[in-house]
């Protein structure tokens, strides 16, 4: 079984926010790129979720579009707003009940997975796991930068999952944690926001030299950097070039992958996230789930140019097709 391709409709957020694309446009466009897997952030795609609920007619429309375009529902990404109440965290039992409600919504949409944000406590997911098993759904916690597979918080999740012994608990790695270079679209935005060129150049070089973020921040301050320059340096606290091979220890619990990207150039290369190495590792780990495109470049360019999420997703899907269909690691080694 090969790696499958899909799109998180998060990728088209610019076009859906502004009303340029409907749900049908999003699904049709994705499938036309050969990306049949469809992932949604439930409350982005379905107005009303979770506080008000979603009418059966809207869910029926979803299923008719999925059938019309021969698409496959993959994941409902839920949020769990545990800061719903000002000044106090949502109680444990209410958090568990909320996750169960999202599992039910995922099941209504025909999803295989629900995505849990990385800040959710492992005990909450473990408590909801029996309900997920009943519904035939897996709860996947999104391992997202600045967290990574060697971080104690993620190890604590992994240990809780093994102790629970439930197959309904797993991981969803976001490829943004493998940020090998400082994205040019970030640099350009920070310069437009007022970062002096020489400081921007220094931060990019320091990132490529893998200098500890705290040193970079101090150096930028000593270079006279303030406001936006410190903001640019601070991005190094939230991003790093972790190694894709760290996923290999967890392949038995990795069931879905977020194909995060910030820019796809015309030559079909993401200049900062090493997709060739990522796909090589996933093949080595016998991964046969979906990689869903997750375009996140819009927020970095929207102040200066028109966003074209569809073209960005098209390029990433073309790149993924080449990498997935390309020679497997064994053949390369031979």
């Amino acid at each position: 079984m090969a790696i499958k391709r899909g799109v998180s409709l998060y990728s088209y957020q610019h076009e859906t926010f502004t009303g340029k694309m409907t749900l049908e446009d999003c699904i049709r466009t994705s499938v036309a790129f050969g990306a049949r897997g469809i992932e949604v952030i439930g409350e982005q795609t379905f107005w009303g979720w979770p506080e008000v609920g979603v009418a059966d007619e809207k869910v029926a429309e979803w299923h008719s579009l999925i059938a019309k375009y021969n698409a496959v529902p993959v994941s409902h990404d839920f949020m769990l707003d545990y800061k719903r109440y000002k000044g106090r965290e949502m109680p444990f039992d209410e958090q568990v009940a909320s996750v169960k409600k999202d599992i039910d919504f995922g099941a209504r949409l025909g999803m295989s997975y629900v995505r849990a944000l990385v800040s959710i406590a492992p005990e909450v997911l473990v408590a909801a796991a029996p309900h997920a098993e009943e519904k035939g759904i897996k709860i996947l916690i999104e391992v997202h930068a600045p967290l990574h597979f060697d971080h104690p918080w993620i190890i604590r999740h992994a240990e809780a999952f093994e102790k629970a012994g439930s197959d309904a608990l797993g991981f969803l790695p976001d490829m943004g944690m493998f940020l090998f270079k400082f994205p040019p679209v970030w640099k350009a935005r920070f310069i437009r926001n007022g970062v002096p060129q020489h400081i921007a150049d220094y931060i990019v070089k320091a990132y490529e030299d893998r200098v500890l973020s705290e040193y970079v921040i101090l150096n930028v301050r000593e270079m006279g950097g303030s406001g936006p320059a410190l903001g640019m340096a601070e991005t190094l606290r939230h991003n790093a070039a972790y190694e894709p091979k760290r996923m290999l220890d967890y392949m038995h619990r990795i069931h879905h992958v977020h194909g995060k990207f910030y820019q796809m150039d015309e030559d079909l290369v993401e200049p900062c996230i090493p997709y060739d190495e990522i796909v090589r590792v996933l093949k080595q780990g016998n991964y046969n789930g979906y990689i869903c495109s997750e375009y996140e470049g819009n927020r970095w360019i929207e102040d200066a140019q028109e966003v074209d999420s569809v073209e960005q997703v098209r390029r990433q899907q073309a790149m993924l097709t080449q990498l997935i269909d390309g020679p497997n690691p064994t053949a390369m080694a031979a």
């Binding site: 859906t16 707003d81 800061k83 109440y85 927020r299």
Partner: protein, 125 residues
Amino acid sequence: MFDNKMIVEDSLKATADGFSIEARLPYYRGLGLSMIEDVGVSVDGEPVPREAVTLSLRGRTWTLDEMETEYGDRWNFGEKAVVGVKVPGGLAPGEHRIGLSERMRVSYLPFVPTAKDEKVLTLAE
């Protein structure tokens, strides 16, 4: 994200006790109303008191204090809300520089973000 799309173009209207504009959340999803901590408005550089601001969605209206304990409704992704502003004596017709800030309590963020937009809107004669 979407900061420059918070204030809806051409949305300035006179009301019985002031004016209104249409506004969106600068976010890739919606948010339950209890997590909207503040909606700040300024007119030609002058901030408006918090008590003078209301938010309306689908025909329902809340003051900002009422929204803090509204757990049953939400401001959806890309949804245009009507932000009402009480101004004694109303707003003069013509161009006004309208500022808007929205503070959101987002569960997973280690800070409480405030996003801002500013646009020159015209109040019709």
